[in-house]
């Protein structure tokens, strides 16, 4: 399938430091691609390079098979809609007047802007000046502006910032419906993993400017290795008895076993009981996506 976005060795250097380094993104058409990373990882810089707002230090960007250059940028961007960083607006104009500017700039039919406003549920507020909108409403207006031409590619940088839980749910539903309803590809960045987990079909994780994971959400979840945790009476004695299974002591005072089969769990339990060590609890623990994310980005990274 043709790629909606493909970057090759994409890098950006500011004052001698690479904020983004050798990024090879592959986003297929029709995907909702979650672009994850801690704050300051290089998500916005990458998105800006994809939209030609920032010139890469090296590397290239291809959108729908066309290489993004100074010359081709305007034509290529006709197929995209975007919301980068904070929503942009003219506060002294109404929501509808803001949409009219987009309409005139992009030469869009009237129905497009009305539909975009209705999708983000701003049609009742369209005649109110934007400076009186709440942050969530401004965010929704930003999304309506990005949607106005019903582009093939939608690039959204943290679009749920400032939204209340109901608003987040609305935007989530909207984003999930876009590929099926309008054949759009969506690239959405966030530093909140659970948000991406519920929306995306594929993900890329960036840390300190480098891509540390790229693949489907299933592939990401498959990284979630499980372990067996046991709570026993005499942990040290039990550990010595089960040294052939290489148990680990958890900070919570339990014994943890990695990669053990069900049969092995039964054998461990029998051995402990036979040696007079009471077993209080046996449970399976899976790494949450959050933990996988932290593993990939380094635990010290601020989420």
């Amino acid at each position: 399938m043709e790629k909606a976005i493909a970057t090759k060795g994409l890098s950006k250097e500011y004052s001698g430091v690479f904020r983004v380094k050798d990024l090879d993104l592959q986003i297929r058409q029709g995907e909702v691609y979650g672009f994850l990373g801690p704050n300051g990882a290089g998500k916005s810089t990458t998105m800006k390079m994809i939209l030609g707002l920032v010139r890469p230090t090296r590397g290239s960007v291809e959108l729908f098979g066309q290489r993004l250059t100074e010359k081709s940028r305007i034509d290529i961007l006709r197929q995209t809609g975007s919301l980068i960083e904070s929503p942009a607006y003219y506060g002294h104009l109404t929501g509808m007047e803001n949409m009219r500017i987009i309409q005139k700039l992009m030469d869009l039919p009237e129905k497009n802007i009305r539909k975009a406003l209705s999708i983000v549920r701003l049609d009742n507020q369209r005649n109110k000046k934007v400076k009186y909108y709440s942050l969530g409403m401004k965010q929704r207006l930003g999304i309506a502006m990005a949607l106005a031409r019903f582009p093939k590619l939608l690039v959204l940088d943290e679009p749920t910032n400032g939204l209340d839980p109901a608003g987040i749910e609305e935007i989530r539903e909207l984003i999930c419906s876009l590929p099926a309803q309008y054949g759009m590809t969506v690239m959405i960045s966030s530093h909140i993993l659970s948000e991406i987990d519920r929306m995306a079909t594929a993900a890329g994780i960036i840390n300190k400017g480098e891509l540390v994971f790229q693949g489907s959400m299933e592939e990401l979840r498959a990284k979630s290795s499980h372990s067996i945790v046991m709570r026993v009476r005499s942990r040290e004695k039990a550990a010595g008895l089960l040294s052939d299974y290489s148990p680990k002591m958890t900070p919570e005072g339990e014994l943890a076993f990695e990669h053990v089969s069900d049969d092995a769990v039964a054998r461990i339990n029998s051995r402990l009981v036979e040696n007079g060590i009471p077993v209080f609890r046996i449970e399976e623990r899976r790494k949450s996506l959050e933990e996988i994310f932290l593993d990939l980005t380094g635990k010290a990274a601020a989420l």
């Binding site: 707002l53 960083e85 942009a88 607006y89 009219r100 700039l105 992009m106």
Partner: protein, 251 residues
């Protein structure tokens, strides 16, 4: 043209034209009041009222034009800074160089229209006050056209500031500085005054006071269009540099 139309659309409810017009009308009031007082006192100003009026216009344009242009440029550019709309416009296929040009043209049109009203008021006052002699249409036209040429240069500087720096007080301070040079420039020697584009408004006085047989009178002076062409070229150069810099800027 589409971008220029959009610039005017963005100014809805900003009352930019009214602000510009109000500043120029304040200038008109000062000029006409001064012309009235001069005529009432008699002497040269009463004998050559049209020439006196044109001289007053040139002098006060040096004071009012730089600041009014600074206000216009600031109001027109500020709409983008306030809403941080640069990225939005750039992603909506608007070239940053076109945006720069559209804003420049928008400011020029606003100030040219407001100043056209001013010049009609000056002429109207002259007729109403029954100034002697024929209406010097050619001199008025030269004054207006020359002012527009200098405005191009001054506006190029102001737009450069207003587009580059989000805090518009920097641009307004530049405008105030320009007003000082424009007004007080007449007191400086020519070699100093001509370094600054703001100082050229007084070149449009088209008359100067001379002493003949112990009596002060006004002698006609032709507009030095070569100097003004130089100002225009300098202005276009500043405009070109500003536009290029802005188009290359990363957002």
């Amino acid at each position: 043209m589409q971008y220029l139309g959009l610039e005017f659309y963005k100014l809805k409810r900003r009352h930019v034209f009214l602000t510009v017009l109000a500043l120029f009308l304040a200038e008109t009031f000062f000029i006409l009041y001064s012309a009235y007082r001069s005529a009432a006192r008699g002497g040269t100003a009463a004998d050559l009222p049209w020439e006196n009026l044109l001289m007053q216009i040139a002098l006060l344009n040096g004071l009012f034009c730089p600041f009014t242009l600074a206000v216009a440029a600031s109001r027109v550019c500020d709409v983008e800074h306030k809403g941080d709309t640069w990225k939005l416009l750039s992603c909506c296929s608007e070239r940053m160089s076109s945006l720069y040009s559209a804003k420049f043209a928008c400011c020029m049109i606003l100030t040219a229209a407001a100043q056209a009203i001013q010049y009609f008021l000056y002429a109207g006052y002259g007729f109403a006050a029954k100034y002697p002699g024929a209406f010097p249409a050619e001199k008025f036209l030269a004054s207006y056209a020359g002012t527009m040429l200098i405005n191009v240069g001054v506006l190029a500087v102001q737009e450069f500031f207003s587009m580059a720096v989000a805090n518009q007080s920097a641009a307004l301070v530049a405008g105030l500085f320009g007003s000082f040079l424009g007004f007080a420039g007449a007191l400086f020697p020519d070699s100093v005054r001509r370094i600054f584009i703001w100082g050229y408004y007084t070149e449009l006085a088209q008359a100067r006071t001379v002493e003949i047989n112990g009596k002060w009178t006004l002698a006609p002076v032709a507009v030095n269009w070569e100097f003004l062409a130089g100002v225009l070229i300098a202005g276009l150069l500043i405009y070109g540099i500003g536009k290029h810099r802005f188009a290359q800027k990363e957002l």
